[in-house]
């Protein structure tokens, strides 16, 4: 199997001695839609920030698309698309201008960037918002624009950190249609962190569960559910809660 993401004994300690990651081993194959689950403060965001070149690791090895993000960060940034928890929008710019500028920053010509911006506006159903400033958009539309910006340069790996927070059910459904289509039709590898476990249950092919900076489980969603509830059918949410509570009690 070809791997898109390879992490080996990855550690991160924040000032004050907080161990955010305590030796993460994880491999994600090309073209997977992978869910990274865990409670708040488990280390999910730190892990995503390290993989996306935003935070430096303490020790360990990391390869994204076969490249080390610390030495080849320019290539890695072209290879990945990132939409983190907080919206990263210039509030005073219009939807179209933001997408156009993003394309230009990634080396597209004005014509290419214009075409791509219009494609994404249509894909994320932002047509009526095209000429509106980002600050005037609804929470859900801001989120959609935020995700659209991550896709401008056609990345091969997409990191989505809590992508559907603030979206209404219709917007969430549309969003997942776009993401699953990218994953299935274009083979884009997707790593998503989410607290909406029904989303992971429905869309993710594989998952990892992280708690207190350590990976507790990797495998398919079905395998996880069968491991926690071997004798009965259960939802991912039920299995997740039972599993996490077992750690809290111990």
């Amino acid at each position: 199997m070809e791997y898109e993401i390879q992490l080996k004994n990855l550690k991160k300690k924040y000032p004050g001695g907080i161990d955010a990651l305590r030796g993460i081993d994880l491999t994600i194959g090309k073209g997977r839609l992978y869910a990274l689950l865990g409670p708040n403060g488990a280390g999910k965001s730190t892990l995503v920030k390290i993989m996306t070149t935003l935070v430096r690791k303490e020790s360990g090895e990391i390869l994204i698309g076969g490249m080390n993000p610390e030495t080849r960060f320019t290539e890695v940034r072209k290879h990945i698309g990132v939409a983190l928890q907080e919206n990263e929008l210039d509030p005073t710019e219009m939807v179209f201008s933001l997408l156009l500028f993003q394309g230009r920053l990634f080396g597209m010509s004005k014509q290419e960037a214009t075409t791509r911006a219009n494609e994404l506006i249509e894909l994320f159903q932002l047509t009526t918002e095209k000429e509106k400033k980002a600050e005037t958009l609804s929470g859900g539309n801001k989120r959609r624009l935020h995700c659209a910006l991550a896709l401008v340069h056609r990345p091969r790996v997409l990191f989505l950190d809590e992508p559907t927070v603030g979206m209404d059910p219709l917007a969430r459904a549309t969003f997942w249609e776009v993401i699953t289509s990218l994953n299935q039709q274009e083979g884009v590898t997707v790593l998503v962190t989410t607290q909406y476990l029904e989303e992971a249950d429905k869309f993710a092919s594989e998952m990892a569960l992280i708690n207190e900076g350590t990976i507790r489980f990797t495998g398919t969603v079905s395998e996880f559910k069968a491991m926690v509830h071997p004798a009965e059918e259960s939802s991912l949410e039920e299995s997740y809660l039972k599993y996490i509570r077992s750690f809290t009690k111990s």
Partner: protein, 253 residues
């Protein structure tokens, strides 16, 4: 095709045009100084010590300095707005060199400062400010202003990036404010009576930019002040750019 650096400089300029409060405030303050000081205490210009050029030529450098002080916060404002909105992280995640994210708004800001200084020089000329070497004096004033502006801008941006707070850049403005009062800002050295103040003014870099300008305008200071001004502020602007670039490594994302 434009390079990412050109794109970022363009963006910085457009931001300043869309939100011109910082450079416009600096310009308004400078004009205010020029008009009020000239109208209010211009009469002392008849004192022999100001020479034929009068008080206007003496006080005009203050307008130039305060203009750069106002507009040098522009780069910090653009960066700060990007950091507060989270958009800076979006820019940071693009494949552009990290230094370009810091230098681009500084360049945009410096261009804005040069533009407003040129306008101020033109207004000063209309008010009767003498330029003893004609266009060369005007270019010399622009050069000193450019070096001064880059110095303030780089240190302000560096402090902001290191601390993650725009308001901390005010440390630079406040320091300069103190230095202004410890220099020959309002009176020629010959009229300063306190020996300690005279001693401090010799070691105060602001003195050299003021006196350098006065050499170019009314010729009331010797050439060496202009020369030292250029040397000192070439050095400080280089240090300030280096400080801003090194601070880019400390950016908190």
């Amino acid at each position: 095709m434009k390079t990412p650096v050109q794109l970022l400089i363009n963006r910085g300029i457009i931001k300043l045009i869309k939100q011109p409060s910082a450079p416009l405030m600096g310009f308004a303050m400078s004009l205010f100084f020029l008009i009020v000081y000239n109208a209010g205490i211009g009469g002392i210009g008849s004192m022999e010590i100001f020479g034929d050029a009068g008080y206007l030529a003496f006080i005009f450098p203050i307008s130039i300095i305060s203009l750069a002080m106002g507009s040098s916060s522009g780069a910090g404002q653009t960066l700060n707005a990007d950091m507060e909105s989270g958009y800076f992280r979006r820019l940071y995640l693009s494949p552009v060199p990290r230094w370009s994210l810091v230098i681009s708004p500084m360049i945009a800001d410096t261009l804005s400062s040069v533009l407003f200084t040129s306008i101020l020089i033109a207004i000063g000329a209309q008010f009767g400010v003498p330029f003893q070497f004609g266009i060369w004096s005007a270019l010399g004033v622009l050069l000193l202003s450019l070096l001064w502006s880059v110095t303030l801008c780089g240190f302000s941006v560096g402090i902001m990036l290191r601390t993650g707070k725009a308001q901390n850049a005010a440390i630079i403005t406040n320091t300069v404010f103190i230095l202004l009062f410890l220099s020959t800002t309002f009176l020629p050295r010959e009229l300063i009576t306190a020996k300690w103040l005279l001693a401090i003014s010799w070691g105060n870099p602001v003195t050299y930019i003021l006196e350098g300008n006065r050499y170019l305008l009314g010729g009331t200071a010797p050439f060496r002040f202009f020369l030292l001004g250029v040397l000192i502020f070439s050095f400080t602007s280089t240090c300030s750019i280096a400080f801003a670039l090194l601070s880019a490594r400390k950016i908190k994302t």
